[in-house]
Symmetry: none
Subunit: 129 residues, 10 copies
């Protein structure tokens, strides 16, 4: 099993495509470079999605996140690009990605992007007493 | 009374099938093996359900959870499989299972899966002052 | 005044049957026996109800709760049975009973059961600024 | 100015009857006697109301609350009785009274009673950003 | 620039009358006298409003609040009077004033009064993910 | 790269104009002068918006905020002016700006202003279990 | 293995008598009877000790605590009696027992008792940075 | 690199034997079996030590902790045994091991054991302002 | 001014060598590689010291921390090495460095190393009321 | 009374020189310029001292802090310089100044400097039960 950063997002078949369910992942170890200054940037990503036919594989997700380590990226674009890559790999019913970036220039930035399959209806929340 | 891990989920007749009520269980002592590396994984499960004719018996649930100790399982599949086994054993009106897994590869993962009997209508919440 | 455990739930006439109002009680000192092992179980009960013609008398409720001390009971059944006894004694407009049981076999259990008189409409909440 | 406990609730004309507004009072210094044992009981009352033509006067409310000090009262009745006295004195558009009683017999009790003038419509909440 | 207590509330033209926006002010340094005993009362006021053509000027608001220092006032009336003065000075689209008074006679009192221009519709809240 | 305060707000093309997403920024290092007394004022700004074709560039936003350092401004106007400049620069689908100003004259002030493109519909919130 | 309440405290040989070390136990499920009224009392015990030649066995401690369930005891005496029984069973270098009793008569009571072997010197605390 | 549970604790030369410094590790994923019932036990260990010539290697510590997964152990002994193994492997100047075990029989247990080289003097704490 | 990672730690003359004072720095953006697997590691460093003739310059400290980004390092060694470099650069009266590393293999690790000039006496703490 | 930034620190005679007492001030509105980049820096200062014959006058302290607004300063030096100016102006028995600077380059910095009159003995803290 190789352990190298990689842009390839592996998936595995959703083990329960017959139901809507939620997968939530907290990814606190993201770092890339500022495309203007070349200096390191740091962020925590929060991913939550309802899979359709495919789930993202944990280790490949880790290697994928690692692959940004030596690349220059703007906050807004990298968050949307990661979402786009995850959408292409998994084609989910719903996906939300939140990037919480460390302060730069005295300013804290968060980016929150969602995809919702037009054909998908979110489950009505059941609130038990 | 034998005390061995077991895949058998015992039930007992719901003592109050005439009403909808909620059973909530927190199960913090779950461990299985990573199917890729063979190393131990740890999770806390949260189960909540509205029983129909059967309730899951506490001790058998404990032995059932114990039965995963030496097995390899992916997070997404094992959560859905446990839900499926609990559904088969109890055939409830509603059931939600949440698996909160310990960090692996620097990533925290939670899986939340629900079943709702199509013929069942959730009770309208009563909010007293 | 005798002070003995008792299954009898005394009531007194609702002093204000002309209006819906809420009675909330927290009962942290419940103990019974496990019907399988004979060992003590412990729970905290939360009762809330809208009385109709009768209210449960505080001291008799305490003696009633005491009456389970030497009896064997399953969590699900005892919660529903106590609700049933309280319903029979007070015939309320609405009642909710929550049993929060101490951990057994590494598992925390809570049971939440409600009764709602079909002829009763909950008051529309008034939210003052 | 005499300072004696008194069942008389003085009022003064609502200075702004042209609008709905909220008056909230927290009254933590209530004590009466248990009608069964004669021992002291303690409670905190929370009053909130929308006045119509009259407001309850603060000092007379204090003396009124004091008047229960040597009287025996059940929790449910005294809460409804105080509400009734306040309704008779002020005839408000809306009133809610909550009595939070100290633990007795290992049981905490709260009583929450409301009055709403049938001809009155609560203001639609305005939620500013 | 004189610095004297004053009942005059100065305003300045709303710099953005073309949009609804919220102004919130916390005014913790209010004191007046009890009209019955002559003793000092203390309160914190919370003001929030949507201006129309005029905004209240901060320093004049401070001097206005100061002007109550040696006057006797009941809680309910002074809150409504201050609201009325602010309405007359600014003629806003919406205004809410909350007075949180220190405990007197063992009782905490809050008064919350609102004005809403009948011709004004509150903005629909936008909740971003 | 010059590093001078500047009223110019640079933008870059929205990297994902095909979807609605949220950008949130916390800007705690704002200071200007009181237009009446010439003394320093301090504030924290919170910006959140849904971009359309343009995003505000982080460094230019920092230099823009710096440009107020030696200018006199009223709280209400400067908040609306900054919003207006940001709207002109980015022409977003939705934007909310909150200014939290330090206490002056014993009074805390916050200003919250929003813009919503009339042709834009906010996304329906998706609440996953 | 019988499972009955028992006054017998089993011990096992201290597996590391060559060093001072601390054993801490939290025992929240204690109940006995009030010797005056016969009604149930509830407490949580905290035990901490430095064993010498013997350690108290967990299951026998549970059964021992259970043995008070049907006995009448005063708070002060039962705490000291339990300490005495534990001392007799284990003859430790140091032992501290704290009993935190539920409110009775509106009064919360805790009892804290210690034993220290006169020949024993407590270890000098090492505080690492 | 094999990945199997192992009782062997690898070490590496202390990279800074010329100074006293602290190594702290939190090890939340420990599980073994109850030697009486064969059922799983769970614990979190806290290790802190001042190394002398050797440090414990992280991965071997993980495999060592894993090695208890299928073994029966009492709380007191396993904590002292692990300390003993760590002492033998690293021969430190000071070491403290704390085992926090999940509740069993309604009782929480923690074991805290220390070793201090008689020839070693702890550093005097420096408290900076 | 170049902006490249660099092992050079610049200093400037301590502006107040006549007194003992404390400099505290929190450095949350440290990342290096695991020397065994080549995968990224993350840590937060806490530095506190009493300077003698030299202080570490902030920007050079940032570039120094950046210089570990592509290097393999063990936790214990890198913490002591950084301390050693800082000691060599600043030769302080006292210095403490704490490295808090992200969980690896289910284990959290912190390393705390200090240097104290033998000729230096820490100031006696003054605790004002 | 002029209102201009000023380096002059006015004092007034200590009204109680016969006793040691503490004066604490929180000064959150400090800003100066980075001497390297010319960009604004922000800090909160905490001052605590035991006056001898003189106390620092509040308004002059505010104008003094304002005087740094357009000056370039390093964190370590400006904190020690402010302490020095305060010492010269008030000649206290004890003084501690803490500067908490906003994050720069991903690093948080605090500087804590003290002066203690060699002839002064700090009061022994009195801890009331
Ligand atoms: Ca739920
Ligand atoms: Ca409720
Ligand atoms: Ca309310
Ligand atoms: Ca009280
Ligand atoms: Ca509001
Ligand atoms: Ca006040
Ligand atoms: Ca929002
Ligand atoms: Ca969500
Ligand atoms: Ca209890
Ligand atoms: Ca202790
Ligand atoms: Ca320690
Ligand atoms: Ca665990
Ligand atoms: Ca320290
Ligand atoms: Ca981080
Ligand atoms: Ca202090
Ligand atoms: Ca600030």
């Amino acid at each position: 099993m190789t352990t190298q950063p990689s842009k390839q997002l592996d998936t595995f078949p959703n083990p329960a495509p017959e139901r809507d369910y939620t997968i939530r992942m907290r990814i606190p170890e993201f770092t890339c470079l500022c495309p203007k200054t070349g200096q390191p940037d740091f962020a925590t990503f929060h991913l939550e999605y309802v899979p359709d036919q495919a789930c993202v594989e944990l280790k490949s997700l880790k290697l994928y996140m690692w692959s940004f380590r030596d690349e220059g990226h703007f906050h807004e674009k990298v968050t949307n690009d990661i979402l786009q890559d995850l959408l292409k790999a998994t084609n989910p019913r719903f996906m939300r990605l939140t990037g919480v970036f460390n302060v730069r220039g005295g300013i804290d930035t968060s980016i929150i992007a969602e995809y919702r399959d037009p054909a998908w209806t979110p489950p009505t929340p059941v609130q038990l007493p």
